[in-house]
């Protein structure tokens, strides 16, 4: 008679099976999104801990962040990065065929005159070659996420990538998002503009504003994804964003050796982001000439992450719970919409 151990093993197996079943159900939602067939979802049904069947299909179970929601959130950050790098290397935005989808499609706000989004006249060939590589990767990410999401993909919302003092967003006058961020950080005076397209150095600082956010977003999203295929793909994008960020941070650090103000400006931007997204260390500058800090990590050597709400605090440039502003003047599409209240 081997009852006790058999019983305990059975208990463990039952728990594993329950978890496996829940994973399968989540995968069902993912598969439906991949093929774009929402009808498939009805076959998946809902899953409760007690296992009781639920008749109505539930594509977005309350309280749970679905894989589709996470990937659509990521897609919109890629729209932002793609727009910035595409303009910087080519003077025009991402192919219009890659911008459609669910929700409200918005335009890229480039501004006009000083600070307008345009091709950077790079003086350092290496920086130009880095920029072109990153631009191509970001467009690859947009394509990949759109293909993965199928008809569940969201459209590009309005995106403000201007450094101009005054831009028009859907009939409302506001400030170019790069200038607004630079003013808030104290990188420039309240009446000055920050033009990320004006020089190699400004381009790198503009990239620094965006790239760290992408890293921390994918880093924070890993634990939310339940479909292992999506998780692995997201890990591949996270890694790419980290290579980009390392390149940008290393270039800024190298420039700081001859232009020490770079260290100050980068530090001000990191401090701003860290203050916007609430308590806790989610951001680190690049250090100084004596001691570089090119990898933003905690004491375990793990790269820092942000929750989706914290990412929205940064890109909306707002420490409160809001649904738009900054780089996304009219907010996001999809279901992850509101920044955190902790800033």
């Amino acid at each position: 008679m081997n009852g006790p151990i058999e019983f305990l093993d059975l208990m463990e197996r039952a728990e594993q099976q329950r978890q496996a079943r829940r994973r399968f159900i989540r995968l069902c939602g993912g598969a439906a999104a991949m093929t774009g067939g929402l009808a498939l979802l009805s076959g998946c049904g809902d899953d409760n801990d007690d296992g009781s069947p639920t008749p109505s299909p539930s594509p977005t179970p309350s309280g749970a962040i679905t894989d589709v929601a996470v990937l659509n959130f990521a897609l919109q950050l890629e729209y932002l990065e793609g727009a910035y790098y595409a303009y910087a290397v080519s003077g025009s935005g991402v192919d219009g065929a890659l911008l459609s989808g669910m929700g409200t499609q918005g335009a890229v706000v480039t501004g006009s005159g000083a600070g307008a989004a345009r091709a950077v006249d790079f003086s350092d060939d290496v920086v130009a070659e880095y920029a072109r590589e990153i631009a191509a990767d970001e467009i690859g990410h947009i394509r990949f996420l759109r293909e993965t999401l199928g008809s569940a993909r969201v459209a590009q919302p309005a995106i403000n990538i201007s450094g101009s003092a005054s831009v028009d967003v859907a009939g409302t006058t506001t400030v170019g998002a790069f200038t607004a961020a630079a003013r808030a950080a104290g990188v420039i005076g309240a009446g000055d503009i920050f033009d990320p397209y004006a020089s190699d150095e400004n381009f790198l600082i503009g990239a620094y504003l965006l790239t760290d956010v992408g890293v921390s977003a994918y880093r924070g999203a890993a634990k939310l994804l339940t479909n292992k295929t999506y998780l692995e793909a997201s890990a591949g994008i996270l890694a790419a964003e980290c290579y980009h960020d390392a390149t940008i941070r290393a270039e800024l650090w190298r420039r700081g050796l001859t232009v020490p103000s770079v260290y100050t400006r980068v530090s001000q931007i990191s401090a701003l982001r860290d203050s916007l997204d609430g308590a806790g260390d989610t951001d680190q500058d690049i250090g100084n000439a004596a001691t570089a800090n090119l990898v933003p990590t905690d004491s375990d050597g793990l790269v820092l992450g942000r929750s989706a709400a914290q990412v929205l605090n940064v890109v909306f440039q707002n420490g409160a719970a809001v649904t738009g502003g900054g780089f996304f003047p009219t907010g996001l599409n999809g279901t992850i919409l509101t920044s955190g209240a902790g800033g």
């Binding site: 690859g140 634990k223 790419a240 570089a292 990590t297 375990d300 050597g301």
Partner: protein
């Protein structure tokens, strides 16, 4: 932050204690169950557990931490960071590198600190389930074998590749390791079950990708002035690509035959671009299976359980996670 000290270990221990309790409480009953129990545990080894995967990662972190730690300071990991299950080995052939570029010195210091922290955090999470550091060979002999496998011309250095001799050699040696660490974590990501472990592994993956980005961009930039530096990196990538085979699999983990890229400029949709990020055309960084990672660490296309940088093999309770693939 990762969950506190040894919580995986604690979970396993609770189960063991529970089993031990029942064994003691019902000895007669358990005797009959012994055979069944053994066969069940043996069959469970085919699917790697989170502990197996983290121990696989720990072997790689031992290797990287020792390389960078010796290169920047001439000293390796502290003795209390090396203990664990299975056979503990020593490090041979490593020493302080002769570095002069201020940027390279900074990169080396920062990466060394991160890798030492990675060893510590993995050991903390694994607790008593952590494997010991296996024997690690960081001598010029092994690096020279790797350089020769990559068909790098060593005539100017007497047929020897010394990773500790210069900034450029150090970067090339680091290059050999860094993308492997990234691809290992990327390939392992879909094999992990526990959400807290997935989260921590994402943080580790990200750190390795930053390191790889630093090393690759340094080679790219120095390559403007140093003849053949980029081409040497390209050759190392080709060698890795050759060692790890050319099978394709959708996964997860996804496996593609052409899974490595050098740093030399490529023509992108926007014209001449750097190749700091090795990606699959969708902007996704590559992954490798555990076996493929061992092919590179062991410097062989054969299915073996030791060689190259790990002369006695890596340590792992799951034998499938100690061997390279037959390519």
């Amino acid at each position: 932050m990762v969950a506190g000290s040894g919580w995986i270990e604690a979970r396993a221990r609770r189960r063991d204690e529970r089993r031990a309790f029942f064994r003691n409480a019902a000895t007669a009953a358990v005797v009959g169950a012994g055979g069944l129990l053994l066969s069940r545990e043996a069959s469970a080894q085919t699917a790697p557990s989170d502990v197996d995967i983290l121990n696989f990662a720990l072997n790689l972190e031992y290797l990287e931490a020792q390389f960078y730690s010796y290169a920047v300071s001439g000293v390796g990991l502290a003795a209390d960071q090396l203990t664990g299950t299975q056979t503990q080995g020593s490090v041979s052939g490593a020493r302080r590198a002769t570095l002069s570029d201020p940027a390279v010195i900074q990169y080396a210091r920062e990466i060394a600190a991160d890798e030492v922290a990675h060893v510590a955090v993995l050991r903390r999470v694994l607790g008593s389930a952590a494997v010991a550091q296996p024997a690690i060979d960081l001598s010029t002999t092994v690096f020279t074998a790797a350089a020769k496998a990559a068909d790098i011309d060593l005539d100017a250095s007497g047929g020897v590749f010394d990773p500790y001799a210069s900034d450029d050699n150090f970067l090339l040696a680091a290059y050999l390791f860094e993308d492997v660490g990234v691809t290992a974590y990327k390939g392992a990501a879909p094999l992990l079950s526990d959400v807290a472990i997935v989260d921590a592994a994402a943080g580790l993956l990200a750190a390795e990708a930053f390191h790889a980005g630093l090393i690759r961009s340094a080679l790219y930039r120095r390559g403007v002035d140093v003849d053949d530096l980029r081409e040497k990196a390209d050759k190392i990538s080709d060698a890795r690509d050759d060692l790890d085979g050319d099978d394709d699999s959708d996964g997860p983990p996804r496996r593609v035959g052409d899974d490595d890229q050098g740093v030399s400029p490529v023509t992108s949709i926007y014209g001449r671009a750097a190749n700091v990020v090795p990606t699959d055309g969708r902007g996704l960084v590559f992954g490798r299976t555990v076996e493929q990672v061992h092919n590179i660490a062991y410097l062989t296309k054969q299915q073996v359980s030791a060689g190259g940088f790990f002369p006695a093999g890596t340590n792992n309770a799951n034998a499938a996670l100690r061997r390279s693939g037959a390519n």
